[in-house]
Symmetry: C2
Subunit: 326 residues, 2 copies
């Protein structure tokens, strides 16, 4: 078990370490990225680290004018919307990934037997930021571009698949033993649009690590309708958000697919008996799956009490109560 | 057929009329609200008007310190999060609804045979704004409150159902011949949470108009998993967003349920032949339903070319091409 966004704002030791450094600078400082990755492993005793970085790091390293604005998210100097905008995008020089590789290598050395998960954003989710120029409620400009100008869309997603795939590959080559492809905003799409205009580029992205033999977890929010299509890009493990129970995910994907998820982050502030019952219910509903990586159904909210996360890990690592077998 | 958000920012005559007036002031000025409601009916020739207002109007009229900030949405002076916050909420004095009733009555008189649809926000969506204090990506504070403090949640949603129900009732009594309950953000919930902690209050809200014999359309975004549960609150027509095709909605709801939807707003900027084929496909997929109110799958984006909307109305009102029958 591990927690999406376990490294980051919910930890006081993280907030202390980040004082005076900007988010993307921290991601590109191997000492900082490694230390931040290790913090939740030490504190919570989770079964894996996830490399501290951001999905826009490879965009930045490819020369895109992007910054992460506190309280807002990734914001671009100028949105990428036209054929000319896309044609001006440069490929990612593999040399630029050196600070990432070094951060991963340092982390893996420190982690010992605990595995490190590398990660990257899927092309659609990256495009959602690139086309909008920042965070948006419904990613409508990106969803419009795919229909209004399919050639520019194809060029943009092909570019995004290349840079994000290279980012993922660098992490695995440096020692990450699994990867997660985040397609956070893909739940805004109908299945038909996903399959024809998004999935091929996600497959292209994970194609960059397919020869390396590490499992790929694939995750997005609001994906109940999309799970089989998301699996079909070549994912090995499906991440499930908190909107459908895991036994329902098994019904949709078959029981041969390992699942990851899906404690509801909205319960992290509930009284412990309520949260405990929920965690045990998630474990019970995950039993029909081939295997189950316990996690949240979305990232750790910044205001989470870290002690609650530690307590969930202890619960998950304790002998399973009888009631869960039922 | 009509368009969600047909009255509003996509129309130059609207932007002209709104110069110098704040959004909530415009909603409470019967001359303005009526004129704005009529604009798209005149311009596009849609089959219904929808009263120009905002889901937070009844909150404002009940004394909540809320304003609509351009480019951001409803923002509260202070969020409503604690038992004390909720206890301090006042009921809505029916007298305060006079400007709404007058705006509706004026509009109905002008519309003649064209029906007017009244609308209101569902309690969950109102609570999403109240608890967060403004718009949010995932409504996590509201989703947390329902688990962390179920009694306060119950009190808050009961209050919200009362004020939004009164708002809806005032519109119907003044002449609206149908209503739409918007539960815009309900797609962020799992079915179990929706059924136990949200649906009863939505049913309470529409209970305020059940004796008046007007149909209630129920709509939210990302609701593919929730449609049967949303219908079960007592809705007469289900609005479907653009993420599942209407024939799939029929499979989930049965063919006895009238549907509304679901042209993808992301196609409004696509070349006309692409958009036209999509609209015809939506019409074709809606045929198995008991009846079909053609609409978008979400609101009209502000940057939409209004001529495109008019063209869609002309297409929908023209004799149906053979290909649609297939």
């Amino acid at each position: 078990m591990w927690f999406m966004r376990q490294a980051g704002r919910s930890l006081p030791e993280y907030r202390e370490l980040r004082v005076g450094s900007k988010m993307l600078d921290a991601c590109l400082d191997p000492h900082l990225s490694s230390e931040i990755t290790l913090q939740p492993v030490r504190r919570h005793g989770v079964d894996a680290g996830i490399f501290f970085s951001d999905i826009v790091v490879p965009l930045k390293l490819a020369g895109v004018d992007v910054d992460i604005v506190p309280g807002r998210g990734p914001v671009l100097g100028a949105p990428i919307r036209t054929a000319a905008d896309v044609a001006a995008l440069r490929p990612l020089d593999p040399e630029a990934l050196a600070p990432i590789a070094e951060g991963v290598a340092r982390t893996v050395a420190e982690l010992g037997n605990t595995p490190l998960i590398g990660f990257a954003g899927a092309p659609f989710t990256l495009a959602a930021y690139l086309v909008e120029g920042g965070p948006s409620k419904d990613h409508l400009r990106a969803r419009t571009l795919m229909h209004a100008d399919p050639e520019t869309w194809d060029a943009l997603l092909t570019w995004a698949a290349g840079v994000t795939g290279a980012f993922l590959r660098a992490q695995v080559l440096a020692g990450a033993s699994a990867t997660q492809l985040f397609d956070s905003w893909v739940g805004s799409l109908a299945v038909a649009d996903y399959e024809s205009r998004v999935a091929p580029y996600s497959a292209m992205a994970i194609g960059h690590v397919k020869d390396l033999g590490v499992p790929v977890v694939h995750f997005g929010v609001g994906t109940a309708e999309l799970l089989p299509s998301m699996l079909a890009i070549g994912a090995d493990v499906m991440g499930v958000d908190d909107r459908i129970p895991l036994d329902e995910a098994v019904r949709r994907l078959g029981n041969g697919v390992p699942l990851q998820g899906n404690i509801n982050p909205a319960l992290l502030a509930a009284p412990w008996p309520v949260l405990e019952a929920h965690v045990l219910d998630v474990i019970r509903r995950g039993r029909p799956a081939r295997s189950h990586v316990l996690n949240l159904g979305h990232g750790v909210p910044p205001e989470t009490d870290p002690d609650v996360l530690t307590r969930i890990v202890e619960l998950a690592h304790s002998p399973v109560p009888e009631s869960v077998h039922g």
